[in-house]
């Protein structure tokens, strides 16, 4: 196949994937807007694969440095994005079940969780 054919196939794939992306997001409760943004933010970190590919194929110091920085930025996007999303979502863990439970009566004067540093 020529480069042209591959690009045309790529374009076809791009459009179909875009349509799939539009269908995936329909009704999203507003409390999930931020985690969803953060989750998709992590997924576009896949650009790191491009960085790895370039870093592995350059044979020139300048391009090598540029590619290695790209690998660094890409992994920051992937790992940081994933961890932030996971942290956000873990806050909601059991939220649904908690709602179903009869409201627990809190004893008066409970101290807040020992976190909040100033």
């Amino acid at each position: 196949m020529s480069t042209n054919d591959l690009v045309l196939i790529g374009f076809f794939i791009f459009v179909v994937s875009g349509l799939l992306g539009l269908e995936l997001i329909t009704k999203v409760p507003s409390l999930l807007h931020t985690p969803l943004m953060s989750g998709t933010n992590f997924i576009h970190g896949i650009v790191v694969i491009g960085a790895i590919t370039i870093a592995a194929t350059v044979n020139d110091t300048l391009a090598g440095v540029v590619a290695v920085i790209a690998v660094f930025l890409g992994t920051l996007n992937v790992v940081g994005g994933w961890v932030v999303t996971d942290r956000m979502l873990s806050m909601f863990k059991g939220g649904g079940r908690q709602a179903a439970r009869p409201a627990a009566v809190e004893p008066a004067g409970t101290t807040p969780a020992p976190e909040g540093k100033s």
């Binding site: 042209n4 591959l6 791009f14 994937s17 349509l19 992306g21 539009l22 995936l24 997001i25 999203v28 409760p29 507003s30 409390l31 999930l32 807007h33 931020t34 985690p35 969803l36 943004m37 953060s38 989750g39 992590f42 997924i43 576009h44 970190g45 896949i46 650009v47 491009g50 790895i52 592995a56 194929t57 020139d60 290695v68 690998v71 660094f72 930025l73 890409g74 992994t75 920051l76 996007n77 992937v78 790992v79 940081g80 994005g81 961890v83 932030v84 996971d86 942290r87 956000m88 979502l89 806050m91 909601f92 939220g95 649904g96 809190e106 008066a108 101290t111 807040p112 976190e115 909040g116």
Partner: protein, 476 residues
Amino acid sequence: MIAVAASSSTGLPPAWALLCYILAITLFARGIKLLTSPRTAVLGNRVAGLGMLLAIGVTLGLLHVGWAYIVPAAAIGAVIGATWALRVPMTAMPQMVAMFNGMGGGAAALVALGDFHRLTAGGATLGLIDSGTILLSCLIGSISFAGSMIAFAKLQEIMTGTPITWPLQHEINGVWLLGLLVIGSIIMATGGGGVLMIVFFAGALILGVMAVLPVGGADMPVIISLLNAFTGVAAAVTGFVIGNYSLVVAGALVGASGSILTLLMSRAMNRPISNVLFGAFGKVAEGVGGGAAAVAHAVRPTTAEDLAVLLSYAQQVIFVPGYGLAVARAQHEVKELADQLKARGVRVLYAIHPVAGRMPGHMNVLLAEADVPYDELKEMDSVNPEFPRTDVAVVIGANDVVNPAALNDPKSPIWGMPILRADQAKTVVVLKRSMRPGFAGIENELFYHDNTLMLFGDAKDSVTKLIAEVKQQAAA
């Protein structure tokens, strides 16, 4: 396999790798779907994470050269990314998302630059397709990177959150973009030009900065979501650059779902996306000023002592949290105050506006962190009927989401935005640092209403004082 790498934009990877990439893509799509429901969201992120591990693993397996540089760079990126993401306070999440988004955009731009340098090495000229895709991913990636950094700086309050505008702004941006397109066409026509490529890259960065500067802080969530979609498209175009369809699919998925999410968000704020981009929200308001009528009245300040009495003898209290709560990190104190009041038999609810804070869902996350029971968090539509039978509505660091101008003043920039009807409560208490207008820069007539009391000071200090005073009430 190395042959594949050497001609990265002209060949397909071997069948086993393609199958692994297809599996990875399936996991991404499934992950996004699972992320849209509260019950499955945690799983969704993990499923997508598995897909990412697979995709990166396969790529490293295909290209077993250059590991000596790639692995350390990736390891450093991973450690910094994870540490940062784990240590950042939940209040700073929005700017964290902006930061990581920018990193992805920057990576896309650098991949384009690196590939340009590789393909033009030794004076070779580029084909139209190669140069076109390289320019496009460089352009979108750079705008996303620079724009995200400005969004980060605004949210982190390194720079002012109010819109920064100058005369003929949109015209200048338009001409600038046109100039970039001209430079790009020259690069495409000549199939090379290292210096021009650097100029193009720098120009695209500057365009990213100029595009986000006029956007007000209140609109930042929408902009970050839009830039997120942008980076998705940049990743997809990078897929064309390096000839890897898994990037095309994943990038297009994010580009499309991110665009829909952006629309959902701007709809929740009742702000057409074109207004967000070009409206310089808040700047307009200073001129028009919904505050004209308000100047006639004075605000009524109160003390923690008086307020404690008011709260202690209330039947029902609704807390209306906003960004000020996030800034002051007062969620634990608010929870403690609520517990004190509940112990006295007061019914306590939290009214969550869809865009309270700087991200939709921001308040839910913060209050969940403080262990506020899920069933006390009420969304706008279910809590609004409660306000008329509420004794005290305590507005903590919220402003625009309770501004009645959205209902009464057709000239207000937030006209038509659905608001929390805190103004209908018997008494409204506003905890606020100063009379400074909110993030959107609009005056709030609610502060001047006859049933509104103001408690000035840092939200955390104020609530801490309130807790002490309420305890005294209980002891008395």
